[in-house]
Amino acid sequence: MNLFNHTPILILAVPLLTAFLIPIIGKINKKTTGILATLALGLSLIMTIVLAAKVLSVGPQVYVFGEKSSLLTLPSGLKFPIRIMFQIDAMGIFMGLITALVSFLGAVYSLAFLDNKDKIDSYYSLLLLLTVSMFGMEFTGDLFNFFVFLEIASMASVSLICYRGADLGEPVEAGFKYMVVSSISALMVLFAVGIFYGEYDVLNIAAIASVVKYSQLDKIALGILVSVLAMKAGAVPMHMWTPDAYSEAPAPITMILVAASQASLYAIFRIVFSMYNITLNTLAVGWIIIILGLLSMFIGVTMAIIQKDIKRLMAYHAISQTGYMLLGVGVGLAVLANPEALKDYGITAMEGGIFHIMNHAMYKGLLFLTAGALFFRTGTRDLNKMGGLAHYMKYTTIFFIIGAAAIAGLPPFNGFASKLLIYESVYKFNPLLSIIAMVVSILTLASFVKVFHSAFLGPKLPQFKEVKEVPRSMVFAMAVLSCIIIFFGLFPDLIVKNLVHPAVMSLIEQLQYTGTVLGGM
């Protein structure tokens, strides 16, 4: 059917159209807006799975907006015809699957999490816009298009962080901090876009990849892009916005913000691997990414142990796990120019880092949803005030144990699979890095034992006597994530061979990326 050819744009168009219909429908009946949003995201999820099957079996897909071929006669004043393209290869659809799943579960969870206040239609509308922008960042093949989607993502997430800010001051302050950070990062990305436009006159990633030289201006642009997108992803010297933003947002939005930060991380990898590839000094840039990763891991987990607020603690752990991803891919980048080392441990390191992206979205999402469930029933996020909740909320306790075991890297869950890949391959590169990674893992386990003890264990407290289990849609969302965590932990080989390895190879082989665009021109 002809509709299958248009799945790349339908994945974005269906939530976008629904996002603009929801305020109109919300004037008639507010309760149906939630169900409509969930249906739209469910449709996107199904289409993403269909597109993933097509990309992984056939090859990278290109979807062109604008002229069908670059050789048509041009109107005067234009050097090239206007063509913006979506280029979806294995790495893009990998991130797209994460985005689709996380947003769908966030919308399902929000059906019960939000009280029926009067801003509920703007919440769902903004959630759909945030999802559209994340899909756009992951599917696009054009730098200016990436900038526009980055701006949409920051605006939607800033508004969602301030959702509870009508009578509280902290969400508004956190939202303002995040807005300043995302404005500066969008600005700097635009600066790099301006440099590329002035130098090469093209802004398509594959076209720049075929003409880039590593001149002085290109080095400046690379430095700007890597540091600023790392700031958006929450790497350490620039991580100040993460605890405030993640803790003040409503719980399902925090889960989607984690996926948005990883979309920025994907952008770093796309620029470094597919745009520059071997023209840059891979050892130097690889070591810079490795050092960013090490700092994030260590500082994230040591700041996390001392926190009293459960969501702030989990936000610092999100910073720490981002460090693992940067470490794995940084090692792969550092040996990119060296073919035997690449085949020996470079590819395994990158597989570990990229598999960790998916695992992190799953277990961090589950942990944030359980923290949201605790907040929903008890009204507080302070660990000192909670206690003995395992007596009342049995399902939440089980889901929390699964999430905490996954993040600490215990064997039957998925954190162990990706962390083992990272430890083994990074050890062959430099043993000290691997030892630091293992120490950080032990400290992660320690801090989650602390959280489990404070929140769940202990005698029954009198002030929580009427606390029941959370509603069914919230339990459903958490249960789906737990099943995926257990499945990935028991059969990691299936996932690595079918999803992660094609993603890594599509990053490393730049010719495959440029060939599908320029060869089809």
């Binding site: 508004v172 600005l187 635009l190 301006g194 002035g198």
Partner: protein, 89 residues
């Protein structure tokens, strides 16, 4: 290129050395966006490619939307705090 750098530096200095209020921060961000719009426009003229002008219009649209959200947050901030000066806690 030198016009871009000078305006960008003015924006950054205004952002960093700001002790009075928050609106100056938003204005400095706008100045920085303007400097990059100039870079793209000048490149478009010297490369004789009209698509740079479309990019500049897109940037102006995006900057306007972002300022709208920033000022909305500022209004919410003002209602809760009573002033928009930086606080020394």
């Amino acid at each position: 290129m030198s016009l871009t750098l000078i305006l960008f530096l003015i924006g950054i200095l205004g952002f960093v050395f700001n002790r009075k209020n928050i609106i100056l921060m938003l204005i400095s961000i706008e100045i920085m966006l303007l400097s990059i719009t100039f870079l793209i426009l000048v490149s478009s003229i010297s490369l004789d490619d009209i698509i740079g002008q479309s990019y500049a219009i897109y940037i102006i649209i995006t900057a306007g939307a972002e300022s709208a959200i920033g000022l909305g947050i500022l209004v919410a901030f003002y209602r809760l705090r009573g002033s928009i000066a930086f606080e020394n806690k």
